[in-house]
Each structure stands twice: as structure tokens, then as C-alpha cells.
């Protein structure tokens, strides 16, 4: 076994183990951290395939941004796990049977097959990023633009679903605050001056 195969199998083993941990961990924070590990090892596998741009993007976008947000959400939500885990043991036999059957079938079909991408080492100085960029902005410009529309829809949907105008919120109107005049705040009242001592005496 050469070094590359060894690295592949170690990364693969860690990936599978952390993937299992994501679904079995009791604590949701641990599950999220296991997912981070899974992304890291997947990025390692991509580096092994000489897809360094994709690997770095995976770490930057998924580990750096998505998972951090995810962790925040998990920590802020007060998840009631006992309620979520209700009925776990009663579903388990059926679930395990189906999963084992599926796993067995998929292994028998896919075991020992190659998809014919081996041996394609690129010359030194070949830039993966450049090739990807030029393809993305020429041949695949159309799907790229559609993906942009999907992001726009995501923004519209997120705002439409979460924003609501509440009538009872107390808020400040800065424009009104700035344009306020003295007359609006202070009222001058003319009063006749009367000696105080006399009123006291008359009440007595």
C-alpha cells in the first residue's frame, strides 16, 4: 500500500466515523462538531484528488460560515431531545432492516467498479481554479445565473416568512426627533403672580 492509498483510507475511515457520529450523538452540539470534522476530511479527500479549489471552498464556506451559524442556532434553540427521541426503539428494527438491505444492495452493485477517472494527473503549473473559473463563466454561465436567481428567491422567501409589522412595538422616529422645535417641547404658560403666604393664611 503506497502512501496515497493509506491517506485515502484513513480520511475515508474518519469521514465515515464522523458521519455516524452526526446521527448518533446525543448532544446536538457534538453532532454539529462531528459534521465539521466530516467536512474537513471530505476536503482532505478532494485535495487528494487534486481538486484544491473545491477543497478550500468547502472549508471556507461550509466549515467557516455555514457550520458556525448552525452551531449558533443549535445553541440558541432549546431543543427538547427526549421528545424528539420518542419512539426511537420502536422504529429501530424496521429502520435497521431497511438500511441494511439498502446498504447490502448498493455494495453488491457498486463494489469493485471504477468510473474510469484514474491516472489523469495534470502537468505542473496547471491551475484548477482557473479552469473552473473559465468554464463557469463561459460554458456553464446559464446554470450559474439560475443559481443566482435561486439565491434571490431564498432571500425573498426568508424575509417574507420572518418579517412582520407589529403594531404595538415602540420605536423611535429619528426624522421627527431631529426636526423637533422648541415650541413642540416647551409650553409657555402665563400665570398671575399671587403672594403665597396670603393663600396659606386664608386657608387657615
Amino acid at each position: 500500500m503506497d502512501f496515497e492509498t493509506f491517506v485515502f483510507y484513513s480520511f475515508g475511515a474518519i469521514l465515515v466515523a464522523s458521519g455516524l457520529r452526526v446521527v448518533t450523538a446525543r448532544n446536538p452540539v457534538h453532532a454539529a462538531l462531528a459534521l465539521v470534522l466530516a467536512f474537513f476530511t471530505a476536503a482532505g479527500l478532494w485535495i487528494l484528488l487534486e481538486a484544491e479549489f473545491l477543497a478550500i471552498t468547502l472549508v471556507l464556506v461550509y466549515v467557516g460560515a455555514v457550520m458556525v451559524l448552525f452551531l449558533f442556532v443549535v445553541m440558541m434553540l432549546d431543543l427538547n431531545l427526549t421528545k424528539l427521541r420518542e419512539g426511537f426503539w420502536s422504529y429501530l428494527p424496521v429502520a435497521v432492516t431497511v438500511a441494511a438491505l439498502m446498504g447490502f444492495e448498493m455494495t453488491t452493485v457498486l463494489y469493485g467498479r471504477s468510473f474510469g477517472s484514474q491516472g489523469a494527473t495534470e502537468p505542473a503549473g496547471y491551475s484548477n481554479t482557473k479552469a473552473l473559473g473559465s468554464l463557469l463563466y463561459t460554458q456553464y454561465l446559464y446554470p450559474f445565473e439560475v443559481a443566482a436567481v435561486i439565491l434571490l428567491v431564498a432571500i425573498v422567501a426568508a424575509i417574507a416568512l420572518t418579517m412582520r409589522h407589529r403594531k404595538d412595538t415602540k420605536y423611535q422616529n429619528p426624522a421627527a426627533q431631529v426636526s423637533v422645535k422648541r415650541q413642540d417641547r416647551v409650553r409657555m404658560v402665563k400665570m398671575k403672580a399671587t403672594p403665597r403666604a396670603e393663600t396659606l393664611e386664608s386657608q387657615e
Binding site: 467498479r113 463561459t138 446559464y142 436567481v149 434571490l152 428567491v153
Partner: protein
Amino acid sequence: MSLVSWHDLAPMLPEIFVLCMGSLILLVDAFIADRHRFVTYAATQLTLLGAVLLTAQGAHGETVTGFHGLFIEDPVADVLKLMLYVSISAMLVYSKSYLQVRGLFRGEFFVLVLFAALGMMIMISAGNFLALYLGLELQALCLYALVALSRDSAVATEAALKYFVLGALASGLLLYGMSMVYGVTGHLDLSGIAGVLAHGVKDHTVLVFGLVFLVAGLAFKLGVVPFHMWVPDVYQGAPTAMTLFIGTAPKIAAFGFVIRLLAGGLQPLAHDWSGMLVILSVLSIAIGNITAIAQSNIKRMLAYSTISHMGFVLLGFLSGNLQGYGAAMFYVLVYVLMSLGAFGMVMLLSRQGFEAEHLDDFKGLNQRSPWYAFLMLILMFSMAGIPPTAGFYAKLAVLSSALDAGYVGLVVAAVLFSVVGAFYYLRIVKLMYFDAPSDPSACRAHADVGVLMSANGLAVLALGILPQPLMALCTYSIWHSL
């Protein structure tokens, strides 16, 4: 090398127009007060009208591709897109007052509907796995958000979550299948895949393995048994206007998806996928029709009826030849017309604080509004497949194509189950004509809804008496596209 030429952009003018107008409406709507919201409504209808004109003007009866084969414009795409615009426009007319009463008549609704339409157009015109998948996601994201739009309703939120989770699962299945097919053929391009498959590949098992996942993903999106569990819950939980939308336009897009994927790219594998479709279609027709009998909620009943109708559409694909695809296309177009009318009627009977969701709400409709009762009678007869309505001819065309392909037992089963199905359609007719109404007041509708509903019901009748023009259009477009 220039990035984009006019040659690429010309066939996709309708898509570009809808995208620009959607963005424009999004911007303008932010500055419109609630009482002037009809401006957004009118702009959306005008956008659809413009798309109709652009598509009709660009239809030359030949296949044009753009963007390195990622985009295809052919007669099938033109016909499906025109029907798409018509159905969305009718949906907007039917649901206008329903949405106004429930505080859902908002700018986001129209923007999301337009973007969903864009996603469906992209699916219909896709020539590549990437375009197919992105169009599907664009459409699906809009639909999830639309279902959840009435966020104070717990039922609608639950429906949206179910729809979202199962939709995401289906997308995962589709992508996995696509990756397998890509692994074997080395192409994402549907024409490229067909080219490789025509010469035969050595790894046929993996190809079929990928095909299983593709068909399962498709079945989820179409809502056929055994991937149908989301359909009744979403149809019942969503506000009726959204149910009307989900039940009509996306079915046209899903048909386009199946035509592009199975009949376009994977046609050489027809022998493999037709076996899978046999199981899906016979189970859908059986379970859809039998379960619908037990429903007391009309939206849920129509959901099960949708499942059985989708089973019939798949029946058209079984033969794997152009005649069958033409019959399936005719069935989808007729189904969309019937579904528009039926859900439109449910909304017509609803009013402020009252949803006409139960079968009992149709009691004595003949005494309240005889004309609407008659239209509903036509729609129900058509769904059951009773002559002289369009539904009869659609079922006949699909069944005869399956019969020609030698599926005699399957055809017999389909006919038997559609007889079972006739029971629950005719039950509504019985409720309307032979029972006393609980509320004798006539149902009022705006003039535009009344006119459109009449046109819709009469179109179903007219297509049953004179099916030839539409059938000829479907056959012509299929023959000139594939």
C-alpha cells in the same frame, strides 16, 4: 470567444422577460401601499401575457438550442410553456379574492409565483442535468415558501415543513442518480448521454442503479405511490390558493422533466425504466382511487385523485414510443384544466372565515347556484372519465397506447380502478343535486371569476366533444421534438 451571443439569448427571451419583470415587481412592490396592491396583481398578469406573446412569437416548430445545449427550445417546450402561463394566470384570477380576505394578497406572493414559473420554464427547456436540477430547485423553493406564507396557520406550517423535508430528500435521490449516470456515461448533457447509451456501455448495472434513484426522485416530485405520502398532507394543509397552484402548473413542469429525462436522455434505457413505471402507475391508480373514497375533506380527496391521475400519465410513458408520449401530454394538459376548475370551485364556495373544505359544503349546490353546480358536474364527470368530457378521451388515449404496447393486464386493472374512482366523483354530484343545502344563500363571485370558471368548465366539455385539435397539437409537438 465571446461569452454570450444573440444566438444563445434569442430562444430564451420568455425566460429573460419573466426574470426581469419578477425583479422589477419585487422592487416596485416595496413602494406600493396595501390598498394599491392590485397594481402588483395587474403587473403579474401582464408579465404572463408578455411571456405568452414572446413564446408564441418564438415558436417556429423546430428545435433550437442555446448555451452549449443547456437550453432547448422546441415545440413541446412551447406548448407546455403556453399552457403553464394560462394555468398560472387562471390561478391568479381564481385566488384573488380568497387571498385578499385572508391577508395573503401580498407582493411576495406574486414575486414567488413568477419565480416559480421561471423555474418551471427552465425545467421544461432543460437540455442538461444541471439545468434540470436547478430549474427544479428554483420551482420547489418558491412552492415551499408559498405554502408557508400564511404563517399564523399551524396546519400550513406543518404542510410546508413536510413538503420541504420530503422535497429535499427527493432532490438528494435525483442528484445521486444523476451522479451515477454521469459516472458511467461521462456526460451531463442529455443528448450526449443518449449518444453514449445508443452505442452501448459496458457497465449497464450501475446505469440501472442510477436510473432507480432518478425514477424514485421523479416519483417523489410527481407524487406517485409509493412516494406519495406528502401529497394529501400538503394539499390539505396549504391555503387553497397554494393548493391550486401546486396541483396545476408544477404538474406541467414535471411532465416536461420526465419527457426531457426519460424520453430524451435515457430513451435507450426505455426497456429498463418502463418496468419501474409499471409498478408506480398501477400502485398509484389503485391506492389513489381506493383511499380517496374514505376522505371527507375535498382537498384531501382531490389529492388522492391527483395521485391516481399521475398514475395514468405514467401509463402513457410505458409504451416508450411517441404515440404514448403524445397521449400522456394530452392527459396532463386536460388534467391541469380539470384541476384548475375543481380547486377554483372550492375557493369560490369559501368566504371570510369559512373554508369550503368538506364534502358536505357542496350539499344542495344546485339549489343555491345551478350554473356552478352544472360546471362542477362537468368537472367531476371529466375526472371520473365519463363521456363526452375531456377526461374520457384522455384516459382512452393513454390506455390505448398502453394496450398497443402489450400491457393488457395493466390496462384492465386501470379501468377497474377508475370505475372504483367514479364512485367518489359521483358522490359529489349526488351531494350537489339530491341533498338539501345547509345554507340556502346563493354563492357570489366576481364577474371575472364567474366568466373564467364558465370558460374552464365548458372547455373541458368542448375538448371532450372535439379532442382532435389538442390531440393533434400534442402529437405534432412530440413528433417534431424528440
